[in-house]
Every structure is written in C-alpha cells, then in structure tokens.
Amino acid sequence: MTIKSPAERPRARGPAMTRNCRNQRLVLLWSLVWMSSFVGVTLALKEGWLASGAPGIVAAVVSAGLGLGTALAYRRFLNEADEVQRKIELEALALGFGVGLIGGFAYWLLERSGAVPTSKSDLLYVLAATCFTYSAGVLLGRRRYA
C-alpha cells in the first residue's frame, strides 16, 4: 500500500467517504419515498380518497414494503460503514431509543398518575421524537468525531 507525495495527492474524497455518502444518500432517498407514501396513504384514508378495506390494505402493504426497502438500505449503509461511523450510528440510535421509547412510556405513566396534564397522546409523537433525537444524535456524533 503506497501513499503519494503531497503534490500527487488526489483531491477527491477517499473510497470510504464516497461509499458512506452514496449509502447515506440512498437511505435518505428511501426514507423520503417511504415517508411520502406513509403520509399519502394516511391522508387518502382520512379524506376518503382511498376506500377502506382491500384498497387501503394494499396501500398500507405497499408503504410497508417501501419501509422495508429503507431498512435494507440502512443495513447496507451500516455494513459498509467504517467502525467510527457505526459507533456514531449506535450512539444516535441509543439516544433516539432512550428519548423516544423510554420517554414516551414515562410520559404515559406520568399522565396516568396525574403529574402532567392529559393530552391526546399519539404513537406518532413518540416516533417523531425518536426520529428527531436520532438525527440530533448523528449530528452531535459527527461533530464530536470530526
């Protein structure tokens, strides 16, 4: 393995960074398509553009299939990422899990104990909190190891 002299150094990003960026873009693209389908199906069912029953089930299955594609793209990203990238993802996932799931359950208990006012609790809020804290965790991790 040889490294060129400073004058001959390639200006382009290394293969690991190129691979990471490509895989991250794929995860982002799959996520956007999946979330769009989720919002679209939810809206269609709510507004009655899509009949409940078989058409609704088919739409939900298609959306879930796109979600599976997102999960597979994320798995590929993790498999091909280097160990520091994996560490950043792991820490971010732990943060997302902690805040979203455990925070969600804690709030649910506090609601029932009367410590906090009763609200229209929704699973979507928990998922949104998980996604938000995961994203924040990735950004913090990248900054920490930059």
Binding site: S5, R9, A16, V84, Y145
Partner: protein
Amino acid sequence: MKNRLKVLRAERDWTQADLAHALDVSRQAVNAIETGKHDPSLPLAFRIARLFGGSVEDIFLMDDKESES
C-alpha cells in the same frame, strides 16, 4: 489507549485524508483514533501497523491504568 499515529503520519508528511484513503476508512475515523476518542478494532490496528511497517505494540500503547486492570 495512547497511540503514535499522529507522529508516524507527520514523519511521512501524510494528511489524515491520505491515511484514511490508504486504510479505507473515513477521515473522521483517523481523527478519532489519533485523538484517542476511539480505539480501533484489532483488524484495523493490524492494518495500521502493516501500513507503517511495525507491530501493533509499536503504535498503540496501553495506559498505565489499563495495563494494571
């Protein structure tokens, strides 16, 4: 764990990006190892040692506290 990565890299006038390219890792990974924020896995430590033509022990040094435990 301490390491001599930064010194060895500087001796060869390599940038972090050069080293990352040679090791097929991100520049972040090189920086994290150099600054002691991340201890590399055994395969990566061997790759680093091979690149610099030494042994793992030549590059990575256990802290006193770590070697006692």
